[in-house]
Subunit: 169 residues, 2 copies
């Protein structure tokens, strides 16, 4: 950047348009933390995800989620398993984000456009019943302590990778 003025902040830059609506659903458990849920809502809003499914009664904090709450459909369910089976019938590829004995690495994983990303509980992860219905399981390499990403951090990476593969929706 020699011989030029330095870059200037651009606030309120126009958003990147999508050629078609995203077919990305985030399927969430009954999170322990409303902060985690609320951060995922903001993330989902920013990438224009189709929908968040969330179990239980964990609240969304509008100070954290901001207008993500207006952007994204948030569907409440009692449990995730029936809705995963429904999504499968609707031809969503069910992709669990979990360390398992046969997870694919996120760096090498090719998403399908029509994807439901299944997210695990902060402490318990994805349940055995849910793992039995997902089509694929992906995991993210960890290189150092504390050896596990926060659930929002892991979700952010997976959603980023999805968007990188489908930059226009």
């Amino acid at each position: 950047m020699n011989n030029q003025p330095p870059p200037e902040h651009l606030r309120h830059k126009p958003f990147t348009p999508l050629d078609q609506p995203r077919e990305l659903v985030l399927a969430c458990p009954s999170f322990k933390s409303q902060v985690n849920l609320s951060r995922i809502v903001r993330l989902a809003g920013c990438v224009a995800a189709e929908k968040i499914i969330v179990c239980g009664s964990t609240k969304v904090d509008p100070n954290i989620a901001r207008d993500g709450m207006k952007q994204v459909v948030i569907e409440r369910r009692r449990t995730l398993l029936p809705v995963l089976k429904k999504l499968k019938q609707l031809n969503y590829r069910l992709v669990g984000l979990e360390q398992t004995d046969r997870s694919s690495g996120l760096f090498d994983y090719s998403f399908e456009r029509r994807t439901a990303l299944v997210i695990g509980h902060e402490r318990l992860g994805i349940t055995a019943e849910e793992l039995a219905v997902v089509d694929d399981v992906i995991e993210i390499p960890v290189y150092g302590m504390p050896f596990s990403y926060n659930v929002v951090t892991a979700t952010t990476m997976a959603v980023y990778e999805y968007c990188r593969q489908f930059p226009s929706g």
Copy 2:
């Protein structure tokens, strides 16, 4: 995954080894939020970043950062500008994460291995003086409301992309 037993959780999976130590420095401002700083420390630990430089006196919460605090060198400075100049002398590529009039999209950006990722303040972003010394500026496409990623979310995406490009360090 037909005709096989469902995938099984693997807790405490061994971490992915690096062929060489990462040369990734995260250069942080004096964050408003100790939660944001602490989450970045955990992230930096999990990817085995070389160092975090942080300005001011924002504390790291060990309940959030966990053993990231043991994994990563955390260097405190009064201001970022002198340390950025020093990093440049040490041949780090200074990469600002900011929406500007000439930012490259993260999807298309090729990192150098020896990189200092310059992170902006939650409200103020990267200062004009800092923007004047960075080598490149990158930004992440935003597709919907609230039209801006939380600083940890944006940092997570940039760090993920760096690791994707250098999966073995």
